[in-house]
Every structure is written in C-alpha cells, then in structure tokens.
Symmetry: C2
Amino acid sequence: VKIGIIGSGRMGAALGALWVRAGHDVCFGDIDEAKAQAAVEAAEGGRACDVPHAAEFGDIVLLSPPWPKFREALQMCGPMQGKIVIEILNPLRPDFSGLEIGFDTSAAEEVAKAVPQARVVKAFNVLPSPLLDPAKRPSAEKISIFFCGDDPEARELTAQLITDCNFDPVDCGALKAARYLEPMAMLLMHMVFQQKLPAEIGFRFLRPA
Amino acid sequence: VKIGIIGSGRMGAALGALWVRAGHDVCFGDIDEAKAQAAVEAAEGGRACDVPHAAEFGDIVLLSPPWPKFREALQMCGPMQGKIVIEILNPLRPDFSGLEIGFDTSAAEEVAKAVPQARVVKAFNVLPSPLLDPAKRPSAEKISIFFCGDDPEARELTAQLITDCNFDPVDCGALKAARYLEPMAMLLMHMVFQQKLPAEIGFRFLRPA
C-alpha cells in the first residue's frame, strides 16, 4: 500500500518504519523536512517530502501532527478525496491536564468535518509511542489497537496495517466511538505522568475466542 | 471486612457473593428487600436488610444503585463519616447513547461531593456484569479492574477486594481519573450494543513486570 505520513514525529516516524518493514511504500512528510529525512534514515527505507506531496502520494494518509497543528496540516493536504485518512490525534489541553473536547464530538469527528471527501479512521491513539518498538513490548500478550471509522473498507485496510505492526486490531465501528478512545488514551498518559508508571503500558482487549 | 451493599442488582449481588466466598461479612441492601433476600440466597451467605442498615453495617460500602437513583440512595445512607465508599456507577444517558457528564466532573466526583465525610473510591465500573461469574472469564489472562480515589488507605483496601474477586487491580490514583474510567466503560457497552459482541469482554492492563 502507498502510505503518506503527515507529521514524522515520534508516532509518525515509528509507525512508518514498521510499515516500511512490512513492505509498504511509505512517504514521510513533515513541515520540517529535516525531520522527514531523519525518519527515512531511521526506517532504512521510504522517501521524504513536504506535507502536500506526502498527502498526494498516499492512498492511505496517516495524520500524525501535534493536535494544535492539525487544521494547519489539513489545509496543506487539500481535500484528499476518496483517500483513507488514519488519524491518531489526542485532543490534549496545552497543559496536558485533560482533553479539550468531549462527549459531543471528538478529534476524529473534527478531522472528518475538515476533510469530508476523505474516509477518516481513528487509530493508534491509545498507544504510548515507545511501544512502537517491538523490543519494548510485553512479549506474551499482544497490545490491542482500537480503531473506528464510518467506511467499512477503510476500517478493513486499517486493521491490516495494525496487524502489519504486530498489534491486535479491535474494530470499534462508527467514527464517533472516538469519543471513548480519546479518554482511554488520556488514562495512559495519566498513568505515566501522575502515577509515574513507565511509558511501556497499554491495553489488551479480552473477548471470547 | 464488613461490607454493606447499596443496590443488590446484577453487579451488587454478584460482587457481594464473591466477597462472601472470600470470607467477608456482607450485608446486601436494596430498596426492594426481596432483591436483597434473593442476593443472600444466591450468595449462600451474608444477610439482607434495607438501605440505611446496609450503609450502617459496612466499614466498606459498595454503592451500586442504577445511576439515576444514586442521589436518592445516598440520602438513605446518611453521611457515612469515615467509611470507605466504593462506587461503580456509569453516568449513562437514559437512552444509553452516551454519558451524561464528562471532562469537568464524573459520577465519582459527584458522589464524593454528596458524601464529603466518606472516602470514595471508583471501581468495577469497567466490567460487564457476566464476568463476575468466574466460569465466564477468559482463563489465560486476568481481567484488570481500574480504580481511583483520593484516600490511599481506601485505595489499598479496594485493591484487596479486587484481588479477592480474582481480578487484577490497577491503581489509577486520584478520584478525578474517573473521568477516563467512565468513558472506558462506555466503550465496552458500545462494543456490546453497537458492535454486537458478547458481553464477556474486558480490558487487561499491560505493564512491564
């Protein structure tokens, strides 16, 4: 699959590297092109470019800028008609004390409103970035990655990309389930920042076999 | 430990039964005294009484009425000075479409405001009631029960009561972490009602050994 990364920070760069390793064609984009170049080197593959070209390149676009920059990033991406947009945002307050938006909407729904011609999926937000390194994961139990979106095909492809990272995909249905996934991510941050746990924490979804 | 149950419905009755089995002295209370009596019979132990007496009986009080009834239940309980109150409420909208209260407060904090002389802990809300039956749990991996509260001793005792049910206790610190635990429970309900999964689902919290 052709994947464009919008925002090659800790999450974007590491996810892209996993997908390079899984055989996908990845284009790392960032406002700071040196960052995109560094992501290519770390991934030992893929290519680097600016944000508009990364968005144009991908059949799937990973939206991974910092939350306060997402509107600006989307403006640089254009309408992305028909593209699958996987967004991993957590709508944090500037002081990290909680979420900016809540039960009547979600970061995911705000993204979908901003690019109505794209097919938006929420994924990878309930995941501290260190766990993108397979060596840092608890070995016995696979971490679950919760995702949701209104387009079934987009969800199916996202599930595959999650499996490609050796995580356990959990389909949460419609995009508005992001209203629950964003607070879940906040709990992980709370466990790290307030409860002083190490960052290598996550959830496993248990269901009958 | 002496435990008073306020609301002997599915959650209250089954939790009480597990604690009877673990050797605790349990008093099942309910507005409907026949329900409390049925809980005693199902638990093969403990005693049944009305709500005020159950509250008086317990050093630990389990607050497990339906969400719309919690204020009424608390009025019957009195101030519960110094008692540990474990509340398991999810502040559901009447049509189950989401939560009534969100990021600026939580059911747990509302309970704490209503009984300021008690030591309130949030627990057991991220758990579908069928999983209280040990036979219905996935055998290999222990389900995590997330809990939070402002009193360290109350949290410690709650952790013990969770262990007594053969669950994995996860200390989430201050009571306001309930703002994240309540949406997590909503995700489980969403998975059952919208995604049509069976009710035997839950989360396991993964952290380094």
